[in-house]
């Protein structure tokens, strides 16, 4: 993974010092709460339902065992002993008192971590494919490019107060595991016909009240120009994005409203920077800089590529076989595998990990993965460097440490935001819904029979749980102070399995909380009745349409039927 330079290290220390200065002024009454707010947000500090929430950046999901242990210590010393991994590959704490926040920033800086730009109306922490650099289907390792982008966007002086938040996702693989179409800017690394490397650039995607898939603004942008092109996009957005209504302030609204005019403005701005600006070509990335950063992504020492294929395993225990099937993934290095540690198990919210579990995962990483891990978009952890010959031992150890639920990609491997239990924005709780669905589908045979399916749960329209892109989406809504849930079907992150990125469609009026597990079951049963041989859930939904699902879902209405009758 990326190795911090001394400069990087000093930079995050100074950021912590700057934050302490701001916090001190706030506590001394010299900086009002209102004016402190945007400053703390740009360091990841929200004030939530019970206490401040801290969102810590895990750039493109890469984290090492020492960092994870440090997060465990923070969970114990400052929080209530657990944290929550998010769809944007970050980690959130929920119970840290604000007056201790700068102590936490210093503790983070000591392990090369921070909360810079994990919130606020700025360019957010950049996300990627959790299998970047190790995936067999990768065209190009995106991490060095993202690191260059991360550095460029860090404390960018012109783009710290945009109309609204700004999210960038990058993939270098054929399969889009980063949901790039759903981002303000999505970048896909590829090679053109001449074999040159560049980016396909998407712009204007986003979730929220108005789900939109990004449009392609460049089919092929030479990689050297990516900082300049993004500067052009963000400058046009900063100047012309709406600021009168926060619900219409994302770049997707500007792109939709202006269409070709927006594209022309970006292209003109891009040309102007390169041709007219003083120093306008300085951010064209030289090969030497790329090489320097790429060299900072050191391969772990002691990797030994296998020279011959491992002998096929026979007589595998069924439970181990299931884990191999769901939680173990191909690797670009012969003899190696990537292994998902599932954070989706009964009794804990999706993506949550206790301090002990963080230590446990760190220990597994040290023992089996050269001390490295990844945080995934689906809110799990991945061990990226596991020797094939260690798999069985790892399985036993992961089982012991609560990480071996063999459900990756299945219904209970759901995405969920923290919801109304913790988040001040939420209209409804997510965690009890996730727990009820997990309980309902606890039979592994049934889960395997249902097969690959993305279930996404958001507690409100801000869509942190990405309900729009779930094959099944659950959205919490508030009606007269009660929690209701809108169900959508047919959404997609934009993966091969699910087809292109697309928002799901609502299947009818909202359901009461206690109906939701029945509705999910009814929808799943309809799929099992209607599916063709080997047909995935999403394909059946697309083939037969929503109607059969609406009928079966309506059959689950009890409270809502009573409410409608009354």
């Amino acid at each position: 993974m990326y190795q911090y330079t001394e400069f990087d290290r000093l930079f995050v220390q100074r950021r912590a010092a700057q934050y302490r200065d701001q916090l001190t002024r706030n506590l001394a009454g010299q900086l009002s709460d209102d004016e402190f707010r945007p400053l703390r947000l740009q360091n990841g500090w929200y004030v939530q339902r019970h206490a401040p929430m801290l969102r810590i950046a895990v750039p493109y999901g890469e984290i090492n065992a020492n960092q994870l242990r440090a997060l465990g210590r923070i969970a114990r010393e400052f929080d209530r002993g657990y944290g929550h991994f998010t769809t944007r590959q970050n980690l959130q704490f929920n119970w840290i008192p604000l007056d201790r926040s700068s102590d936490v920033m210093e503790a983070l800086a000591a392990v090369d971590m921070h909360g810079i730009q994990t919130s606020g109306n700025c360019i957010r922490n950049i996300t990627s494919d959790a299998f970047a650099g190790i995936a067999p289907d990768e065209v190009v390792d995106p991490r060095p490019y993202i690191e260059i982008l991360r550095q460029w966007s860090t404390l960018h002086p012109e783009f710290a107060f945009l109309p609204r938040k700004f999210k960038i996702a990058v993939t270098g693989a054929i399969e889009d595991r980063a949901a790039i179409g759903w981002h303000d800017i999505g970048l896909q690394l590829l090679k053109n016909e001449a074999g040159e490397l560049g980016f396909k650039v998407l712009v204007g995607g986003g979730m929220g009240r108005t789900p939109v898939i990004g449009i392609t603004i460049r089919e092929f942008l030479p990689w050297q120009q990516v900082l300049v092109f993004i500067e052009a996009i963000v400058r046009v957005y900063n100047r012309y994005g709406r600021r009168d209504n926060m619900y219409k302030a994302r770049i997707k609204i500007l792109v939709k409203a202006e269409g070709k005019k927006f594209v022309d403005a970006v292209n003109t701005e891009f040309a102007n920077i390169l041709e007219r600006d003083a120093g306008g070509t300085e951010h064209v990335i030289p090969q030497a800089e790329f090489d320097r950063v790429a060299a900072s992504f050191r391969l772990p020492e002691g990797l030994v590529e296998a020279t011959e294929a491992a002998p096929p395993q026979t007589d595998v225990e069924p439970a181990y076989a299931r884990w191999l099937q769901r939680n173990v993934h191909g690797h670009r290095l012969a003899g190696y595998r990537a292994v998902t540690l599932s954070l989706k198990r009964p009794g804990q919210p999706p993506g949550d990990a206790t301090a002990d579990q963080m230590d446990g995962a760190a220990a597994l990483a040290d023992r089996y993965s050269h001390g490295e891990l990844r945080v995934t978009h689906d809110q799990n952890l991945v061990l990226p460097w596991v020797r094939q010959s260690d798999l069985h031992a790892l399985w036993l150890a992961a089982r012991e440490a609560s990480f071996a639920t063999p459900n990756i990609g299945l219904l209970t491997d759901m995405i969920a935001c923290p919801g109304g239990d913790l988040c001040a924005l939420a209209n409804a709780r997510s965690i009890p819904i996730a727990a009820a669905v997990t309980e309902r589908f606890s039979d592994l045979d049934e889960l395997y029979d249902i097969g690959d399916i993305d279930l996404h749960i958001s507690g409100c329209i801000n869509s942190c749980g990405h309900h729009h892109s779930g094959h099944i989406g659950i959205l919490g809504v508030d009606k007269d102070g009660a929690e209701w849930y809108q169900i959508t079907l047919g959404g997609s992150d934009g993966s091969t399995l699910s087809g292109g990125a697309v928002p799901g469609k609502v299947i009818g009026p909202s359901f009461a909380a206690d109906e939701v597990p029945d509705v999910i079951e009814a929808v799943v049963d309809t799929y099992r009745e209607r599916r063709a041989a080997n047909e995935h859930f999403i394909d059946t939904v697309r083939r037969v349409g929503l109607d059969p699902f609406k009928v079966s879902a309506n059959g689950a209405r009890r409270s809502t039927a009573a409410a409608h009758a009354a």
Partner: protein
């Protein structure tokens, strides 16, 4: 960065009290709004000091041909979290090579100082309740930056080998003690 004390500010604007301005007597150090400048630019005597205050929704392109005649461009922050004026300042410096003063007005808070300085502002009128000490301190936290800016267009990566290390060595002994002076 210059801190402008409102009492010692020689620039005078022509807004408000007497209703719409119908005629302007050219005198030095008038700060006109964009509409006033537009109306009187043809008559404005060459060489007489004049400034223009731009709203943050004005395209600075429109002012480009007149920039060599201007001593001052004042850019406004109606709310401090409205970041449009940063782009205006950047363009004035990087694209239109404006060499006069760029002054931040409106809701200007101490924590904006690093951004203002790096996008091309060289003078600020702080909001009345803001501390100049805190503002100066806000300018001193970072040893350097990753991306280029209008003061130094070269990003860190374009600088000669060893620059980042030199910045670290130079910064280390004088680590800013946070909260100092409060």
């Amino acid at each position: 960065m210059r801190f402008i004390e409102p009492r010692r500010n020689p620039w005078r604007s022509l807004s408000g009290e007497d209703g719409p301005v119908v005629g302007i007597q050219p005198v030095a150090n008038l700060l006109l709004d964009f509409g006033q400048w537009h109306a009187f630019r043809a008559q404005w005597p060459e060489g007489m000091r004049v400034g223009v205050a731009l709203g943050n929704d004005v395209d600075v392109e429109e002012l480009a041909p007149d920039l060599p005649r201007l001593t001052l461009v004042a850019l406004n922050f109606p709310k401090w979290v409205d970041g449009r004026a940063y782009s205006q300042a950047h363009l004035l410096r990087a694209r239109y090579r404006f060499e006069g003063e760029i002054r931040a007005t409106g809701e200007v808070l101490v924590d904006m100082l690093p951004l203002l300085q790096r996008t091309g502002f060289d003078a600020v009128v702080l909001r009345g309740d803001q501390s100049q000490d805190a503002a100066r301190r806000a300018l001193g936290f970072f040893p350097g930056h990753y991306q280029g800016d209008v003061r130094d267009a070269q990003p860190l990566f374009a600088k000669p080998d060893g620059t980042a290390d030199a910045l670290v060595r130079k910064a280390a002994p004088q680590f800013v003690s946070a909260g100092e002076g409060i």
